[in-house]
Symmetry: C2
Amino acid sequence: MTTLSNGAAASEPAPERSRQWPTMVDVARASGASLKTVSRVVNGEPGVRPVTAERVQRAIAELGFQRNDGASMLRRGSSTASIGMVLEDFSGPFYAMLAGAVERVARDRGYLMLTGAAENDPERAARLVAAFTARRVDGLIVAASRADHSDLDDCIPAGTRAVFVDRPSRRGDADSVSSDNEGGTRAAVRHLVDLGHTSLGFLGADEHSWTIRRRLDGYRSAVRADPAIDPQSVERIAMGPHDDDTIAAAWSSWTSGDNPVTALVTANNRATLALVRFLRSHPEIRVGYVGFDDFEAAELIQPAVTVIAQDADEIGRRAAELLFDRIAGTAAAAQHVVIPTRLIQRDSGRR
Amino acid sequence: MTTLSNGAAASEPAPERSRQWPTMVDVARASGASLKTVSRVVNGEPGVRPVTAERVQRAIAELGFQRNDGASMLRRGSSTASIGMVLEDFSGPFYAMLAGAVERVARDRGYLMLTGAAENDPERAARLVAAFTARRVDGLIVAASRADHSDLDDCIPAGTRAVFVDRPSRRGDADSVSSDNEGGTRAAVRHLVDLGHTSLGFLGADEHSWTIRRRLDGYRSAVRADPAIDPQSVERIAMGPHDDDTIAAAWSSWTSGDNPVTALVTANNRATLALVRFLRSHPEIRVGYVGFDDFEAAELIQPAVTVIAQDADEIGRRAAELLFDRIAGTAAAAQHVVIPTRLIQRDSGRR
DNA sequence: AACGGTCTTGACAACGTTGTCTAGGCGCCT
DNA sequence: AGGCGCCTAGACAACGTTGTCAAGACCGTT
């Protein structure tokens, strides 16, 4: 291959193959032991004389040998000690915390985590799942609920353990963990009513998201359930990504008639921030609001934003633990864990 | 093993081995073709009659066969098409964006990303690197600079491609990508001087972090270089994680003598936020400041915070591209890419 | 009818590792 | 001296896949 004398084979296309890793055979040759003895030393199995083990260890150190875990797992037929995580993106604080919590649990159990972002593209999510299962991950955490990834469920081969975050799966057998989205917006509405608001509106987000739809459901049911609230509030719903213009349009339509809106519930971080920016550039507008999802700045901006906080850390932890229970073989029926939200009262509720 | 007749072997301890994946041998049996023919069909190799291919495809679909990429890569001796990323944690916006950018590049090239958090623990970082290389990742992105992870360099086997983020490696041969930390704080000092400040202080962070030390260097050199600045400023440096008390102590010491401090540079997000909170609870204190690292709330809080913004996305992209260049075999000398920072002028500079 | 060529197919070895089994060496007993 | 058991060590097959090579079927040509 790399013999200098062989000028004819100069058309070598290989990109200078990374330094080939030494194998157990190399270690065996170098130490004068047999392949199997090396394997025993590497795995700390008994039945090797200290002298021999020492010789092998020296060869291992000299060659910089490191066992090829892939080959080992193939031979053993053991699990790959890895899980795959599909998330929407990395940079949202919710997903970032989620990933962190999952990885922490995985690491504690000696597992590695493969991660990929779906970025709102169902096909990309499907490709990720395929790549993960082709590497025989022991399980999947699917946290891609922004777009409608429901087709994804069918891409997950039966028998593959999967836990869905923030959305149940269409497959009956998969566990799921999510925030109490409906309860969250209900609490938000209650809070605004307690502060004296009776005419509300809902500043939504992507209507295809399962999470957002649940939050909307919570808003609607809370509004309908409370006779003190102006029934018009049920229809005062503006979905879709928001910017100054869309908010301005919604606002003017909701305040043009009688009984104008005095308080809003925003469906996610982005909507909350869009509203805050809108209010910055329209200081004449006064409105109470509660945002879904906490954010670092919420207590720093003025007025400090009252939010429905999700416990991303707990969600990730529970999801990972559920997954590892499945991996361990627990055969119980699918669980659907709902993690409570928490209303963090600050100042933006009153107007 | 699983023969029903053998009652003696009932002490099977295996936790109900996940559904065993079907192998090419199973597909071959089911379709009446040979193992090699199945392999050809799976890999789209020519030389299979359409009728045969059709039969094999049907068997693949029926059994739900999916190729074991691990075995395939072992046999081919090819790369694992995966990279490992060590980051400090997931939830910081900088690391989250970094990871997102790296994963995007990796995914575009058909690579999968393994990720783990070092969480300030050098040993944990070392274990991650070991686990990654044991799985024969094609390269590493090391973005763990908060604590002193410099021992980590020696854990990376020679020949393993690695790109260091936010800190060069002690190994001479590794590429690195980082923000222009020194230039960033220099720009911050210049900005404050332009606004009329002449007596400054530096609110630092973990002094073991390479990044933080570079930012401090930038502060020191900028202060020394400008005769208009009170030389006392060079010593007005408070490292370590900050809270209300540590900031209060620094502040009172820096304003007790003559020529009291009128403006601060903060070394990272956390320090900036600690300062903002401190100023919230001490409305009588007026001080100009510039923070290192942008954050979502910076433009929303009042006064909007002037920051030195890092381009995490670009850093991640460049780091990943550098890594893939190495993987492709580019043998050039190690590169140390410095990504410029950008001063985003808002209102917190003037006091 | 015999030959050469192309096309399709399959047998076999090998990737790096580990489980199983057997071969020696040694000490201890009768 | 012979037999037994223990300890250490190695030969070999196998995990699931792919590269190599050869065998056979079929075609058209001489």
